[in-house]
């Protein structure tokens, strides 16, 4: 039998929740020092804890755990819910789904937590949603140890040339191209430098970042497509 873990008032966010039995909820949360945890909140739907146990609300969570799932013993708000509307809310769901897909339970990673909570506050305020999402993807990959090489050319080890053209090997990094290659696979040195410096101020570098990060994430996500992305496309197609 595994050791019993008791945690008091740990900072965290609900990533996803679903009803469980008559009045309980099964909550997947991202916490500051314990990573992703699965918690059963007994009787929460009837007892009014439901108001708190929702995504995008900063929380303090206490639980006890023996084995895979913990039992939530206490929850309180740690601030106001992050105000997100329409497109920003959907973007936040995308971020949650990305975390659920890329994080295993019980793998503490404080860097992931801080990049998530930064991302939520930026989503509420920043002018460009897609810039916030790209920076989150970049930082998340880095926090998970899949950081991108965006400084040096692979073969020569030299710094990237802003006016050079590169192919990106997802495992290793940028490789200079001199011969003709299909345009949609090529990145300008300046686009890679901008991404590495987290400076995504113009449309071109944003688009390049989306293309590159999308490819890298696809490798880590595997075959199963993200459901939130499908829903977003459905909403756009229906004119919402």
């Amino acid at each position: 039998m595994s050791e019993r873990e008791t945690v008091h008032l740990e900072r965290g966010f609900v990533l996803h929740q679903r009803p469980y039995r008559n009045t309980s909820q099964l909550v997947e949360a991202l916490t500051e020092r314990h990573g992703r945890v699965g918690l059963v909140a007994r009787g929460s739907r009837a007892k009014g804890r439901r108001a708190l146990l929702q995504p995008f609300v900063p929380l303090r969570l206490s639980w006890t755990r023996r084995g895979e799932l913990g039992t939530l013993s206490h929850v309180e708000a740690d601030g106001q819910a992050v105000p997100l509307e329409a497109q920003r809310l959907l973007a936040a769901y995308y971020v949650n789904e990305l975390l659920l897909r890329l994080l295993a339970r019980g793998d503490p990673n404080e860097a992931v937590y801080s990049c998530y909570s930064d991302c939520l506050s930026s989503l509420a305020a920043a002018p460009s949603v897609s810039r916030v999402l790209r920076l989150f993807e970049l930082r998340l990959l880095r926090a998970l140890g899949y950081g991108l090489e965006l400084d040096r050319e692979l073969d020569s080890g030299e710094p990237l040339d802003p006016d050079g053209r590169y192919l990106y090997d997802p495992e290793h990094g940028p490789r200079r191209v001199r011969d003709r290659v299909a345009e949609e696979q090529v990145y300008w040195g300046r686009e890679l430098i901008a991404l590495g410096a987290e400076r995504l101020d113009d449309d071109d570098s944003l688009k390049a970042a989306r293309r590159l990060l999308g490819r890298i994430l696809e490798r880590h996500l595997g075959e199963r497509p993200l459901k939130s992305r499908k829903v977003m496309q459905d909403l756009v197609a229906k004119g919402f």
Partner: protein, 209 residues
């Protein structure tokens, strides 16, 4: 564990576990009760499950679960056809119906917007709602989705749809429950209650002053 049981019994115990909140132990208890104590009830249950599974579908107009093409709420001639109340589940419909304060039509989404579960406008039948609003004759959409992040997001979608057809959208009020004492109400609920406050309609004569 279940291999001590004969195949049919093991099958039954396994099948009962498809119900929410029923695990091995409860399923065993149910199976023994049905077989040992009340075989007639077991047969009735089997017949009822069989016909329900085969015949019950969704109402063509409001998506309520029913074995008829059009459910009785949509057929009724005594209801106000100019209002349509949008809900998440059949259980919510029952709750609104029992309140006795609503006499319009319904529309059941059978869920709420939940991008992570892949539930979007198509899954919620918003095409059908769109078509009903396009038919005309409706002048108010009463949104009665849950007061949760997902419920709010769903309400926004419905409101956008109503706006597209020039129909007024209202949301049921939320805040202090009847019999509620402010001291024990969470700050989120209380702040919403304060935002949604309304004028007390009274005149000095009525108040006996």
């Amino acid at each position: 564990m279940s291999n001590v049981y004969s195949p049919l019994l093991a099958d039954l115990i396994q099948a009962l576990q498809c119900l929410p909140g029923v695990g091995q132990k409860s399923a065993q208890r149910m199976a023994f009760h049905l077989l040992d104590r009340d075989r007639e009830a077991a047969r009735r249950l089997a017949r009822s499950l069989e016909s329900a599974a085969n015949q019950i579908g969704h109402c063509e107009q409001c998506r309520m679960l029913t074995e008829e093409t059009v459910c009785r709420f949509c057929r009724s001639t005594h209801r106000d056809s100019s209002k349509i109340c949008v809900l998440e589940t059949p259980a919510d419909l029952l709750a609104i119906e029992n309140s006795g304060a609503y006499d319009g039509r319904y529309f059941v989404l059978m869920g709420h917007l939940s991008p992570i579960d892949g539930i979007g406008p198509t899954e919620l039948g918003l095409d059908l709602l769109d078509a009903r609003l396009a038919e005309g004759g409706i002048n108010e959409v009463v949104v009665a989705t849950s007061v949760t992040v997902e419920g709010d997001a769903t309400a926004h979608l419905i409101a956008a749809l109503a706006a597209k057809h020039g129909v007024k959208a209202t949301r049921i009020a939320y805040g202090v429950p009847v019999g509620g004492e402010l001291e024990f109400i969470d700050s989120g609920t209380l702040s919403r209650a304060l935002l949604g406050r309304r004028q007390i309609e009274t005149s000095p004569e009525e108040a006996g002053l």
